[in-house]
């Protein structure tokens, strides 16, 4: 019984790196989902918008989110490649 407990503790210890990587991946994926949802909302706003100045602001916002999404996806790809 004690041997089983010890083995399971050792297993957790050796897998701690893997767990933290998984948590990181999950974190990035969550942020990506939120970012994409936010971008969709902004796109819809842009379609309905009649004010030219505000349209420019919204377009810029979409561009910023594009860059952030791209950066997040690259991070994700690097993590997966490294493992």
């Amino acid at each position: 019984m004690n041997k089983i407990k010890l083995l399971s503790k050792l297993q957790t210890f050796f897998d701690s790196d893997k767990a933290s990587t998984e948590a990181r991946v999950k974190g990035i994926e969550t942020v990506l989902i939120k970012l994409k949802a936010k971008q969709d909302k902004t796109r819809k706003k842009l379609v309905q918008c009649a004010n030219d100045d505000y349209k420019k602001v919204l377009s810029l916002e979409i561009e910023v989110m594009n860059a952030q999404i791209e950066k997040a996806e690259n991070f994700l790809k690097d993590i997966i490649d490294d493992n």
Binding site: T30, K34, S59, L60, K71
Partner: protein, 616 residues
């Protein structure tokens, strides 16, 4: 001989002795006269009402009352009308003075706006004389006190914060009415015993003596309205001459300021300044009336003839005189409101609180790492609020306008001129003390423990440095900004108005980010948008300046100054955004670590602006 350990012991002993002596004297006074008891109780109730009013208005900040106040007082004409109408309805300028002092103390009005209302109130108070002279009616102030106290208590015990605030206001006004009522009751003996016909005098001597008598009478009765009633009644009964009644009316104008001064005793320095402005205005108006008394008498006769008032109807002529000299006073003083406000701000300095002190940094917080971090964060928000105040003053705008839904373009247009503002003094008063205290607190805390919180404190210290940098930028910007507001070059003015607009727009965005109700889902990533907008604005501004120089709409010297100033604006804004990233964002939320990784670098943001076709 008693040896005092230090000065503080001595001062405490003096203070306790004065308190003891005051209690003894008051007790003796109460035993001697019931009138005296009424007067002192009235003063105490009046001051208590002031405290309740201030509490009520503070709890209303950001709520319904603030909107009503803003709507009523955002232009000089409205302020004057607000003063006239409110005083006309309440039949007491002293009461309105007290109300305005509370507004100012709660930060809902600035001094110049308060002075505008007081000018209007002075005119409004003359309607009382018209009512008495024309209809023989007078509103009994104490009749309102009891229902107000009842409704005040009823609202106070409600759960809603707004209703509680309304309850405090009603209680405050109720106690003010009650206080004035008791003061009047106490002074009734004086009112009944003074026989004015005994002092009938003519010429300049008579004018001065009766004006002084008017002052004394108003101070004793504690109400210029009541004093005016006494004068009008005496005039109607033939106890005093028409000439002497005019002098008495002038005196009541000075005497009425005493109520405001009494009201300002429990208010902060801003309340004291307003009482000072009231005194200056009434003294000045009275001086004008005394110096040009003959011209005023002639004007009153002319006006009365025009509106069909009989030549021997002296009570109505007195009411006309009362209104006329106040109107003249307002017309003369109106252009000098800002100058008066600035002078009072310079002369009346809060010695005890001249320098803003930290609100949240307690020594006890040092013992608990999380508490210490939160204390520093809150103090940094306090410091940020002061920085916002200074920057807005520097660009000639006001918090009360910028942090509303009004169009910023309209707000900037509404204030084309930049009043002189002593930024160095503001730095010493509103920034340096708190800033130094925060840095000292962080140093002590970081020395005490080395933990995760130590890292947060490092970033909070950086945030404070950013605030200092933002102020430095504002200081650099101020000189040219002020010059441009006086320039005849419309293009230059336009560019500087854009600068003011951009700063105000960012402060408005950050105010939203600051409010806890408006928590963004991805707070750090949202800041990339603000940063990219800054870069975009900066780029457009530089291009615009080049065009203006090329088309010779502004000189190259003006253009280079503008470019430098544009860089200062960029510094101010980027420092504030950076600070907001540390202070306004909840670093406990799960996504923060990932957001920090994904946030775009300065280089990435610049590339984005350069490649964005929409920004062309």
């Amino acid at each position: 001989m008693v040896i005092f350990q230090n000065k503080i012991d001595f001062l405490i002993m003096i203070r306790n002795s004065i308190l003891f002596l005051t209690v003894l004297l008051l007790s003796y006074g109460f035993w001697l006269s019931s009138n005296f008891k009424d007067i002192v109780a009235g003063v105490s109730i009046f001051l208590f009402g002031m405290i309740l009013l201030q509490q009520g208005f503070k709890s209303f900040t950001g709520g319904m009352l603030e909107k009503v106040l803003k709507a009523a007082t955002n232009s000089l004409t409205k302020r004057l009308c607000f003063g006239v109408v409110t005083t006309m309805m309440m039949q007491s300028s002293s009461l309105l003075s007290v109300l305005v002092i509370s507004f100012i103390s709660a930060g809902l009005l600035d001094l110049a706006a308060g002075i505008g209302i007081i000018f209007g109130a002075n005119l409004g108070t003359t309607t009382g004389a018209w009512l008495v002279a024309a209809f023989g009616l007078k509103v009994k102030i104490s009749a309102y006190a009891m229902p107000m106290l009842v409704f005040g208590v009823l609202f106070q015990i409600q759960k809603s914060r707004n209703l509680q605030g309304l309850g405090s206001i009603l209680l405050g006004v109720g106690f003010l009415f009650l206080g004035i009522h008791y003061m009047k009751e106490g002074f009734d003996a004086f009112k009944d015993t003074i026989t004015l016909s005994d002092y009938a005098m003519t010429g300049v001597y008579g004018l001065l003596v009766f004006a002084t008598l008017g002052v004394v009478m108003t101070v004793v009765i504690q109400s210029s309205g009541a004093a005016m009633v006494l004068i009008i009644t005496a005039l109607a009964a033939g106890q005093i001459s028409y000439e002497n009644s005019l002098a008495l009316a002038i005196g009541t104008n000075i005497g009425t300021t005493m109520t405001a001064i009494l009201g300002s005793l429990s208010a902060d320095i801003r309340g004291k300044r307003l009482a000072g402005a009231h005194l200056v205005f009434n003294l000045f108006t009275s001086m004008v009336a005394i110096l040009f008394i003959d011209q005023f008498i002639y004007s009153v006769d002319w006006v009365c003839k025009m509106v069909d008032i009989a030549a021997d109807d002296y009570t109505l002529k007195l009411a006309t005189f009362h209104t006329l000299f106040n109107v003249v006073g307002i017309i003369i003083m109106l252009p000098f409101i800002n100058l008066l406000a600035r002078t009072l701000e310079r002369v009346l300095i809060d010695k005890a609180g001249a320098v803003d002190k930290p609100k949240f940094l307690m020594d006890s917080a040092l013992e608990y790492p999380d508490t210490a971090v939160e204390a520093v964060r809150q103090e940094t928000v306090h410091l940020y609020d002061n920085v916002v105040h200074i920057i807005l003053k520097t660009i000639g705008l006001h918090r009360r306008d910028v942090f509303t839904n009004q169009s910023l373009t309209d707000i900037v247009k509404h204030y084309p001129k930049l009043p002189g503002y002593d930024l160095d003094d503001a730095y010493l008063t509103h920034f340096k003390g708190i800033y130094s205290a925060i840095i000292e607190f962080i140093s002590q805390a970081r020395f005490t423990w080395e933990m995760e919180q130590s890292g947060r404190l490092y970033w909070l210290r950086e945030a404070n440095l950013k605030l200092a940098e933002a102020l430095k930028g504002a200081k650099h910007l101020q000189k040219n900004l002020q010059k441009s507001s006086l320039s005849h070059n419309v293009y230059l003015k336009q560019e500087y108005d854009t600068v003011r607009y951009q700063i105000a727009a960012l402060l408005r965005d950050l105010e939203l980010a600051k409010s806890e109700e408006n928590i963004s889902e991805l707070p750090l990533l949202s800041q990339d948008m603000l940063k990219v907008q800054l870069k975009d604005q900066n780029k457009k501004m530089m291009e615009n300046i080049e065009i203006l120089i090329r088309e010779r709409k502004i000189s190259a010297e003006m253009g280079t100054s503008l470019m430098n100033d544009s860089a200062y604006v960029y510094d101010i804004q980027s420092n504030l955004i950076s600070m907001a990233g540390t202070v306004f964002v909840n670093h406990e939320i799960e996504s923060i670590g990932v957001e920090r990784e994904i946030m775009l670098t300065d280089q990435e943001l610049s590339e984005l602006v350069q490649s964005n076709p929409e920004s062309e």
